[in-house]
């Protein structure tokens, strides 16, 4: 099963490599990885999506917790949560396809953020499934380049991942 694990990490040099290294060292799997600073400059928030059975996920969270630079973590998939990913897609936009790209982008509530005579750059956010569907829809028209951020997530309701 797919899990989304969010981690508060010490904002120290090398901290990220400890997390990433752990996954390869222990033969765990990383599907997406997203990391950025938080409102507290001493902490980064890292979100990783991974796949494994309960035993593997238990080992992943235990080993992550063992890293000294990991301050706190939560497996978001254990509860209700919001999952978002941002994607920028360059699509071929020539002739009739220009309208088709625009229409499809509207259906997905995506925005065209850059335009040239032959290319549209589309920005879209959503969960991974929505982004996959958008890629599928655009594929026949001609995708030139894709940049995805990887999943970021947060728990619904009052639950917080803070110190």
């Amino acid at each position: 099963m797919r899990h989304i694990i969010s981690i508060l990490l010490e904002n120290e040099p090398g901290a990220l490599s400890r997390v990433v290294g752990l996954f390869s060292q222990r033969n765990f799997n990383i599907e997406t990885l997203n990391v950025a600073p938080t409102e507290d400059p001493s902490l980064s928030r890292l979100t990783v999506t991974t796949v494994g059975d309960d035993r593997v996920i238990e080992q992943i969270t235990k080993h992550l917790n063992k890293l000294i630079d990991v301050v706190k973590l939560v497996d978001l998939t254990e509860g209700n949560h919001i999952e978002r990913e941002l994607m920028l897609v360059k699509v071929k936009a020539l002739g009739a396809a220009r309208d088709e790209v625009k229409r499809t982008a509207d259906i997905f509530r995506a925005q065209i953020v850059d335009v040239t005579p032959s290319v549209y750059t589309v920005q879209i956010t959503g969960d991974a499934g929505k982004l996959d569907a958008f890629i599928q829809a655009m594929a026949p028209i001609g995708i030139l380049e894709v940049a995805r951020t990887g999943v970021s997530g947060i728990a619904r309701g009052d639950k917080l991942l803070t110190l």
């Binding site: 010490e10 040099p13 090398g14 490599s17 400890r18 290294g21 060292q25 035993r55 238990e58 080992q59 235990k62 080993h63 917790n65 063992k66 000294i68 630079d69 990991v70 301050v71 706190k72 110190l163």
Partner: protein, 574 residues
């Protein structure tokens, strides 16, 4: 207010931390630190002949004393040479602090002379690592390093120190930090009371219980408490290789150690148990054999300080995260006035165990007959008698290691010093050095083989410089015995590169360093050689003992089998 350079802070910190001795080797990036060491006399520096030996010596000291071993090496090759020793300590959870010189900050990343990203290289084999970014942070970072290395599940910590951080011209305020706090690191001590109660209820109701305890008892200094608990309950106990000495091996309740080359009765008891009480052990593959066939009728209580050890390879029915000593003491208070509920079943259980014991008694190996080559096992037994079982014993890796563990009986913890997890050949001799320097009154015996000894024999020179009187017992079978054994069993005796051609004349080699060597080839020579070797506890003596090259280590678990699937000799199998 005291102003010190980074280098002086390091020397001063080591003194304030109570470190008496460090092991190392100088080089460019570490020279400021070496100069600071030269100008003080509180911390003794032992100059090894290879950085790997520095880590093993510090490791041996740490295993014997329970305190962190300290290593100082230079950047680049100095640091990479230390990696095997760091990994050895990591696999066996040994407290160690490794100070590595590094090229100056402004050169990092430029492929400077003797530059290696040692924090990156060691990342998978350390508990944690630090890079010093300003000289003023040295005292606090070092305190954190010692704190991390020695608390919770211990392990090695690397501190990378760029040369400019130790420059003699830059001075900063030095205060010894008595305490440090790391917000993300709060090792547990007490176990969950509800879980402990549940475990004790299961223990009292058990019909075929067995304790299975590991290195956590030794590092957690819990052997007295464990002995108390086990004797109150009257249950059998087996330890891992790392847990040897955690319970007195001479006691009737001790089944010896378990696993691939563990005792017949220990492996049989595990397989047939209905309750396994695992404390400070990690269900390693050399213990469990095939996990899908592991102890089919047993419920498992697993106590460990490291949550990630629990249910890693074998699912625990009652997991308890806590320090061994604290959990055992809580168990003792719960069993205080209670008796096991099934004394008859326990009696039957002991009957079965005594039956297994009797089956193998006096059949463990065939002693040599007059005129035949000595058996390695009888050499270990003779050394055991010569040292009255009181020596510190270190080993290298291979057949001699297993024989030492099988035939030298340990009554106390911290006495059997061996590379269990990583299985590092070359470990034994430098580890013995580290022990002997701190326990000069005791006999320190290193059991080794020609293969292992030749990996670290340059340390004879260190022993000469610092007058280190270890006893080296070389079980010379002119081959890489354990490799050969596997080739006999799995490769139709095709001995690919397991024969040691061109062995040196060890006696001459040892004498070249000014030490005594005794060659033993017959039964008659053994007793006088041992008498001579142990006459003076402070003299280094090398015993080159020729043993039967065809001997195998038994019992030996059958690959992919259960605990009870064992070869018992070259012709017998369970």
């Amino acid at each position: 207010m005291e102003l010190l350079s980074g280098a002086d802070m390091i020397a001063r910190f080591l003194k304030d931390e109570g470190v008496e001795r460090i092991y190392g080797y100088p080089g460019g990036a570490a020279l400021h630190i070496y100069d600071a060491l030269f100008r003080q006399d509180s911390v003794q520096h032992i100059l090894v002949r290879h950085e790997q030996a520095a880590t093993h010596a510090a490791d041996g000291y740490a295993r014997a004393s329970g305190k962190p071993g300290v290593v100082l090496v230079t950047s680049g090759p100095g640091a990479t040479n230390a990696v095997t020793g760091i990994a050895t300590a990591y696999m066996d959870s040994i407290p160690m602090v490794v100070l590595c010189g590094q090229v100056a900050s402004h050169l990092i990343g430029e492929d400077a002379f003797q530059e290696t990203d040692i924090v990156g290289v060691t990342r998978p084999v350390v508990k944690h690592s630090f890079s010093i970014r300003h000289p003023s942070e040295i005292p606090e970072v070092l305190k954190k390093a010692f704190y991390l290395a020695s608390t919770g599940r211990p392990g090695p910590v690397v501190v990378d120190i760029p040369k400019d951080m130790t420059a003699p011209t830059e001075r900063y305020e030095y205060v010894y930090p008595k305490k440090v706090k790391i917000r993300s690191y709060n090792p547990v001590t007490r176990g969950h009371s509800g879980q402990i109660k549940k475990a004790v209820d299961m223990m009292l109701k058990a019909r075929r219980p067995v304790f299975y305890t590991g290195g956590g008892i030794v590092t957690g200094r819990a052997s007295e408490a464990l002995t108390d608990l086990v004797q109150r309950l009257g249950f059998p106990i087996t330890t891992t290789l790392m847990g040897i000495g955690g319970y007195p091996q001479g006691d009737r309740q001790s089944l010896g150690w378990l696993g691939m080359h563990g005792s017949y009765e220990a492996n049989m008891a595990m397989h047939n148990a209905d309750l396994i009480i695992a404390i400070g052990a990690r269900f390693d593959d050399r213990v469990t054999n095939n996990t899908s066939k592991f102890c089919p009728t047993a419920k498992i209580v697993h106590v460990d300080i490291d949550p990630s050890s629990i249910s890693k390879t074998v699912r625990a029915d009652v997991p308890i995260v806590g320090a061994a000593g604290s959990v055992i003491n809580e168990m003792i208070s719960l069993v205080q006035d209670r008796e096991p509920a099934n004394p008859e079943a326990l009696g039957e259980w002991w009957k079965s165990i005594d039956g297994w014991r009797a089956e193998r008694k006096n059949r463990l190996y065939e002693p040599s007959k007059p005129g035949e080559a000595l058996k390695p096992q009888e050499v270990i037994e003779a050394v055991y008698r010569a040292t009255r079982g009181e020596a510190f014993v270190t080993t290298d890796v291979g057949q001699h290691q297993m024989f030492a563990a099988q035939y030298y009986k340990f009554a106390k913890p911290n006495r059997f010093i061996t590379s269990g997890g990583l299985g590092t050949m070359g470990f034994g001799f430098p580890a013995a050095m580290g022990v002997k320097l701190s326990y000069p009154q005791d006999d320190v015996v290193c059991f080794t083989g020609e293969g292992s000894f030749q990996m670290m024999m340059q340390e004879l020179s260190t022993c000469k410089q610092f007058d280190v009187g270890v006893k080296i017992v070389n079980l010379n079978n002119q081959s890489l015995g354990m490799v050969r054994q596997w080739q006999d069993l799995n490769y139709k005796s095709r001995h690919a590169h397991s024969y040691m051609e061109s062995l040196p004349d060890f006696a001459k080699l040892i004498e070249a360093y000014g030490f005594t060597a005794i060659k033993v080839t017959t039964h008659e020579e053994l007793a006088p050689a041992l008498e001579r070797a142990f006459a003076d506890t402070n003299e280094l003596v090398f015993l080159d003992i020729y043993v039967d090259p065809f001997e195998h280590v038994y019992p030996m678990q059958v690959p992919l089998g259960s605990m009870r699937d064992m070869l018992l000799s070259k012709t017998e199998r369970t």
